[in-house]
Symmetry: C2
């Protein structure tokens, strides 16, 4: 039962410091000798905390239930949780700190099934019931108070399985069971109520600290796109009173159905197909063109396009990238962030990116000396 | 003997057009219905030729002698050849076209050993002698003339082996033999003289077309950095009269020797070590930090830094990237282009880049929905 994926944690024991551990980087705003803050890249990201010269990593870093997980979910869960946090805890006022309050031991117990040995388990004691809770992520939001950083907000993400995978009997073949949205939400809300009560017991967390809890619905193991958030609440003490719906959806283009007549987003799909055809027309061989498309409140809110090509001659990649930079603004929707990655079997070859408010694509071709 | 690496060419036969082959993209400056030019990304790259809606690929695309080759050489050879061309054929006046004059059949014959069956072979007939010529790259430089593009310059790169790899007897174990610089240059110059005479015989290449020939010295199979150009000449007819030296060098940092006291570039090496220590100090686990460093005329002219980390939590990568953007300008040399790639076993995580004249680093964190 204790087979948690703590492979990553093993690296923690192989500490290799090339300079003195107490060495404070000469960068970042110094709050005290002990604590520094990384500067901002831009207005899109939080500043974060460096302590004793090192980044303050999360206590529950890399920890999940041992059920297999789609790698895409890990990224999508974390960046989605940041987006939800940004609406409650302004980038300008708060400093991001990786979760320091829920200990690794606690999180491990919580992620397991409830049992006599483990009364704290948040997954059902009945072994026939699905594992609902796959991982917990804590994010701390700090404000400067004199020479210290003070915990001023917290976000907790609960990542929930939409499919339960289990081994059947002794044969070891994997079986799966879909979890309905309603079941997932009911269970998630129950777990959230328990979590918030427990977290408020932890030393350093006050009774009225604003805590955001968000429920994430994981994708299936073989999905080409991660899951989405379904609910969140802001708790300032006491029980959770009301949940807000999160209306998010991820899609893959080109759509597998082919017939888009019933698709609300047929314009986006058609524009993407035009772009894809132009791209595939460029070289005399096939390039794979696939997009992850993200919708928020039924509006397009972002696109990640991956172009896979067998060729990687430097001059071809340069010309291809120029060409994409030229046609992308014509065919792809405006007003949303779009990233385009060109890759071959040798890895990433070039990359184009346009932020929400920009009209031109930034582009870069990866070279080697 | 005909075991050329033409795997890539096989893809040419799997033509997949999703729209009509004669479809002309509605983008790019139209020279005629038949010919288009891709627009520029910036002032660093040539525009290039699209014909009948497709990129005009090189006739000798992907063709090399069958001796094993370091993949880094392929990129380094092509981008170095472009840099040499840019000095002779201005980006503003010329349009780049992939080589169209040396046919694939010709190039195959030239890359083989000379024999009764193949009198055109440019590698020694004596099977005990090394294979010197590994690959040939032709680049065409065009000017607009009415509704046509006219060949107005050509660059030919000869990629030469610095190590000859061969199988010894029936045991099949690979043996190697170093080729001295003097030997490589002598052979390269001889080959160049033959190539230029042959190319001027090809229909469409005039007797006085400016042709740049450049000699590239390949790295060894296991090198972490590609080779460099050693000589070039500009021929405007007749025999090659004088060769210009190219003073280029590639290095890997951190230097393996450890003792940099005899190193001309000890300052760069020390600054890089400081940067590396700061980077490795950030996370409680080791990050690999390696740089390809390029020198031109004994001056630093560019750096590609690769940081490999085991972790890839989204928030960690964001903070790490912020941190690198902050310390890079302090520790890394100014006035030269620098690219920094952060990667994990899951591929590229983030990327930072600063062009020659910039002070700030552009940065991007790769995300997923």
């Amino acid at each position: 039962m204790k087979k948690f994926k703590i492979v990553i944690l093993l690296f923690l024991s192989s500490l290799v410091f090339t300079s003195c551990g107490g060495d404070v980087p000469k960068t970042g705003a110094g709050i005290s000798n002990k604590t520094q803050i990384t500067g901002k890249i831009d207005n899109d990201n939080y500043r974060s905390v460096i302590q004793h010269g090192h980044y303050l990593t999360s206590k529950t870093r890399g920890l999940t239930n041992n059920q297999d997980q789609n790698n895409l979910d890990v990224k999508s869960f974390e960046s989605g949780l940041l987006d939800i946090s940004k609406k409650q805890f302004s980038i300008k006022k708060y400093i991001f700190q990786e979760g320091q309050y829920i200990s690794s031991a606690k999180a491990q117990d919580w992620l397991e099934r409830k049992s006599h040995k483990n009364p704290e388990g948040l997954n059902p004691s009945d072994k026939k019931s699905p594992i609902y809770l796959q991982s917990i992520e804590e994010q701390d939001y700090m404000k400067q108070s004199g020479k210290k950083l003070k915990l001023s907000g917290m976000t907790i993400g609960l990542s929930l399985n939409s499919v339960y995978y289990y081994d059947k009997g002794k044969s070891g073949t994997q079986e799966s069971e879909n979890i309905s949205d309603q079941d997932l939400i009911n269970q998630g809300e129950n777990i959230a109520n328990k979590v918030i009560k427990r977290v408020r017991q932890i030393k350093g967390v006050s009774d009225n600290l604003p805590i955001v809890i968000a429920l994430y619905k994981q994708s299936s193991e073989d999905s080409l796109v991660g899951g989405t958030f379904v609910k969140f609440t802001v708790n300032k003490g006491g029980s959770i009173i009301n949940w807000h719906n999160v209306n998010e959806r991820n899609e893959i283009l080109p759509s597998i159905g082919g017939d888009n007549s019933n698709n609300d987003h047929s314009t986006i799909s058609r524009d993407f197909d035009d772009f894809k055809n132009q791209v595939q027309n460029f070289f005399p061989n096939l390039s794979g063109v696939v997009a992850q498309v993200h919708y928020t409140n039924d509006n397009l809110s972002g696109m990640n396009i991956t172009i896979t090509t067998q060729f990687y001659s430097e001059t071809e990649i340069i010309s291809f990238t120029q060409y994409i930079a030229q046609i992308a603004p014509k065919y792809l929707p405006g007003g949303v962030p779009i990233n385009i990655t060109v890759q071959s079997t040798n890895g990433i070859q070039s990359f184009l990116s346009r932020k929400q408010n920009q009209t031109k694509f930034y582009s870069h071709v990866f070279t080697s000396y």
